[in-house]
Amino acid sequence: MKITRRGFLKAAGGTGLAVATGTLRWPHRVAAGSSTTLRLLGHSAFNEDSDKAIAKIGNDFAAQHNSTFAGDFIDQPEVAAKLTAEEQAKSGHDIVDLQDNLPTIHKDYLVPLDDVVGDIAKQFGNFYQVAKDSGYVDGHWLTLPWIGNGTLGVYRADYFAQVGERPPATWDDLLRAAGKLKKAGHPVGLPISQCEDANSIFYPLLWSFGASVADAKNKLTLDSPQTRAALGYGRKLFAQMDATVLSWDDSGNNKHMLSGRGSYTINAPSIYLRAQREKMPFAPSVRHTLAPSGPKGRFFYADIHGWGVFKFGQNIDLAKQFLRSMFTEASQKTALTLGSGYDMPVLPHFDQNPPYAKDSNLRLLVGFMRSAHLVAYPAPPSALAEKAYQTYVIPNMFAKAVQGASDGDAIASATTALVDIGYTR
């Protein structure tokens, strides 16, 4: 049958009109006395079950409080635009997910949650310091820390065995193994690009060499022999990796390992969990080890996700009640079981024997948060640190260095970017 334009327009117009009529209804105000809807905006976790855990806790709470729960989950990079739009509109979600130092940026719009955190701490003890670094701003708890995501060394035990190497304990171990693994056709892969994974790798690398971005007064300390040593190490390691690491997004090192080609990366447990769930043929060889240590020790970076309540929200008291309900034994069990080790507790009380500790590859994560830091370290949490993180200043510095820039030029470029953000020299 030949499709004519006229026929197409008639059919499409008729169908479109019918669909549009059914789809478009003029919004109406909610009548007084009707059920309240508690709206939550979260980041969509790698692990779909993490979102389901929040939805379950929310629905259970709503059922007990004559309300409904609406959880909206979007990918992390889009959260910033969404939050900004809602703040400008003074309308949107009641509860929002604020990662790491984001509470410092959105502090003017957030309800202090000192009473909520106080009640939870009274019952279960204090939060880990890294969680406090995220949620506690200018003398008030502006978010209730919820979960943390940690990073580990992810390696292929079979490839390391083939080249006679053990899982790397230090950066030097990794460099030595990287040369052999590259020759064997299974290179190490760390993203040196504008992605969160690169941030989570290169800040701890700097710290482990004794370098830092700024001191406790946010004065820049980046231009140091320690930073130069870290850049020198980065160049040597880059020479043993695929050049494509310069273009990776957050999925780059996942693909590197799940393709079966890669031998090592540093990442959250998503690679391990995915290989297990998909029953990939090499899944038994995917193992975890702690991220390497440097001359000044081993440092951990963690993502902390906390819940903030918007001041312009219509259901502030209900939102606070809901947040309290997220820290019961049952709620935490739900979250940590469905979180599968990708989500870790931010309260030591729940980190004694989390459900995923039964898995020897995930047991390394128990107590991880005790010695983890946010990117501001060793400076106190700040909006400046968050902006440096969001604009990938440190990965950019390493990317310049490994592509031929001198230490001085790479550091100068990063310093300029940091001064533009607001740091002082």
């Binding site: 919004p27 969509s44 635009a81 969404k82 400008q88 003074k90 080609r261 990442n267």
Partner: protein
């Protein structure tokens, strides 16, 4: 030199081939990726243009049964169609006035319309978010229908103004002399002649609305109300794991309506774009 028809055809096809390959590349890439099993997708040693381990429909199955993709597609179609009709109607009136009616600052107004089109949507989404909240339209498809004309009308007006200037005034004036009102001349004479321009503006407008991202992301939160551009990205990228097969499948299916529209109206589209190209 006389060339045989066969040789002429061969030259024509050979000339067109690189452009066809260039245009088809994304579609073929999406199709191949969406039909591969995850294990093969991740295997860097495999040829990306061949499916060696057998075709799988699991990515499409996931897309249509585990996500709200059909709803996102419907929402996109509805929003793009309604805003295109509204915008082209408004733009027709504006463009006709700017091209035909003599009034003070007509030329400046035309330039202003063009400048408005150049304002990036990323600058506008914050004030518009405030407006949508004031009108209680946040998190409804109406928020998109109300705001998309903000960038579609200036573009369509600018395009149609240029097209109207290619239609000889004499034709319209003849109609006026024969007793037609200005509205009648517009309806019976100008609009039929301007059909390629109108279709081109509508096609461009539809594509702009259909592929818009930032307003759809910031104004809509509920999964069932998302458009296809945000739904696919927001729900199929989870942390550092991308559902590549379903992402590619979603992108491919979502691009089909636009491909169909352009195919059906290609001749009008070419005529609309080239109008005025040889005008002395």
């Amino acid at each position: 030199m006389v060339r045989s028809p066969r040789r002429r055809a061969a030259i024509a096809y050979l000339t067109a081939a690189p452009f066809v390959l260039f245009a088809l590349f994304p579609l073929v890439w999406m199709l191949m990726a969406s039909l591969k099993q995850d294990v093969e997708l991740y295997d860097l040693a495999q040829n990306p243009f061949l499916v060696r381990a057998g075709i799988t429909w699991e990515h499409y199955n996931f897309l249509f049964t585990h996500t709200a993709f059909p709803l996102w597609l419907r929402n996109s179609m509805v929003v793009a169609s309604v805003t295109t009709v509204l915008s082209v109607l408004l733009a027709l009136l504006a463009a006709y006035a700017l091209a035909r009616l003599r009034f003070a600052l007509a030329e400046a107004a035309t330039t202003f319309v063009f400048i408005v089109y150049l304002v990036p949507t990323t600058l506008l989404f914050l004030p518009l978010a405030r407006l949508m909240a004031l009108f209680h339209l946040s998190n409804t498809l109406w928020s998109l229908i109300a705001t998309y004309p903000a960038f579609m009308v200036p573009f369509a007006t600018w395009m149609l103004t240029a097209y109207f200037t290619t239609i000889p005034r004499d034709v319209e004036e003849s109609a006026l002399v024969d007793g037609c009102t200005r509205t009648g001349a517009l309806w019976h004479v100008v609009l039929p002649l301007a059909r390629p321009g109108i279709i081109t503006a509508a096609l461009f407008g539809f594509t702009l609305a259909y592929s818009e991202f930032i307003y759809a992301l910031t104004f809509i939160s509920t999964t069932s109300l998302k458009t296809v551009t945000t739904g696919v990205v927001v729900d199929l990228i989870r942390g550092d794991f991308f559902y590549w097969g379903s992402l590619m499948g979603g992108a491919l299916v979502a691009s089909l309506p636009v491909v169909l529209l352009f195919s059906l109206f290609l001749d009008h589209y070419v005529a609309g774009l080239t109008a005025g190209a040889v005008r002395g």
